[in-house]
Subunit: 189 residues, 2 copies
Amino acid sequence: MSAAQPPRLYTFAGGESGAWRMARIDAIAGEPLPEAPRLAIVAGSPAPGGTRWRLRGITSNERYVTRAEKADLVAKQEGLGRTASKCAALIPIRKTAAWWTLPQDERRRIFEESSKHVRIGLKYLPAVARRLHHCRDLGESEPFDFLTWFEYAPGDAAAFDALVAELRASEEWRYVEREVDIRVVRADA
Amino acid sequence: MSAAQPPRLYTFAGGESGAWRMARIDAIAGEPLPEAPRLAIVAGSPAPGGTRWRLRGITSNERYVTRAEKADLVAKQEGLGRTASKCAALIPIRKTAAWWTLPQDERRRIFEESSKHVRIGLKYLPAVARRLHHCRDLGESEPFDFLTWFEYAPGDAAAFDALVAELRASEEWRYVEREVDIRVVRADA
């Protein structure tokens, strides 16, 4: 990677240290993740040790979003790291083998025409900022397919709950076989 | 990975050993790869050493293909490892940053509606068998985005040349910034 490019690979580590204090860690579907007092986020893939769990993910190209949807998202969204974003969530997800064998047009139809994934996300912009990381093609034995990181102000916590509830009620979520919902607050807050 | 699942990650290694003898290695665009007498293909990601270059890729879900296209492909295609397939090609490709920032609908339009990538591939089935490996999301510093492996009988070598020529003349190929064309023959042939 050239020094001029932003990082794409991130490691989320649950353990004794990190800028985020764990508030709650709930297994929504499938196997849970161990409790840990802190969450650290580091660019790259650091050497193992000193944490209870590590999850890696890489940012990548859009898989479903159209030009028009992307324009709507870009016009409304704000970046990570806002001062007011004292709350955050890490939501790792794994989809079923049945999802991954669907052709592109059928995954798109479920993702947006049925589940309105982009449309739901847009309703909560710019309050909820997000970054999506892909795991499935990092290797053969990744425990999750996606890690999504969300940041928001404490006053938007109820809106964030509504956002995830809307998505979990969608057709797309019938294909989610493992999901953990990790809520954190800034350790210095 | 459970023992019951087929491998997804493959390493292609140019060096002194391997089941395939190198016939030709041509840089079509961008930086070449070093010459090597043999090509080995192994499942997984073996420890480095003993080869001149190694390229890794992972099989993954369809990115553009529709249900109807997939049905056409599945009906016509044959698997790797046919006795008559004494010839093969490994074609590593990297696309431009401009390609990867396009939204999904525009990449699909270029891929199929303009470039007829699936339609061209279909014309050469079942003569040319193939397996696509993705590299771009294995990490931040992969030299290629895709490795495609093709197998065919010696009598279909001219047809294979026509297939790659058709694709290279397409709009999609304007987004290819690095491409190496490696032709091999079975070492026991």
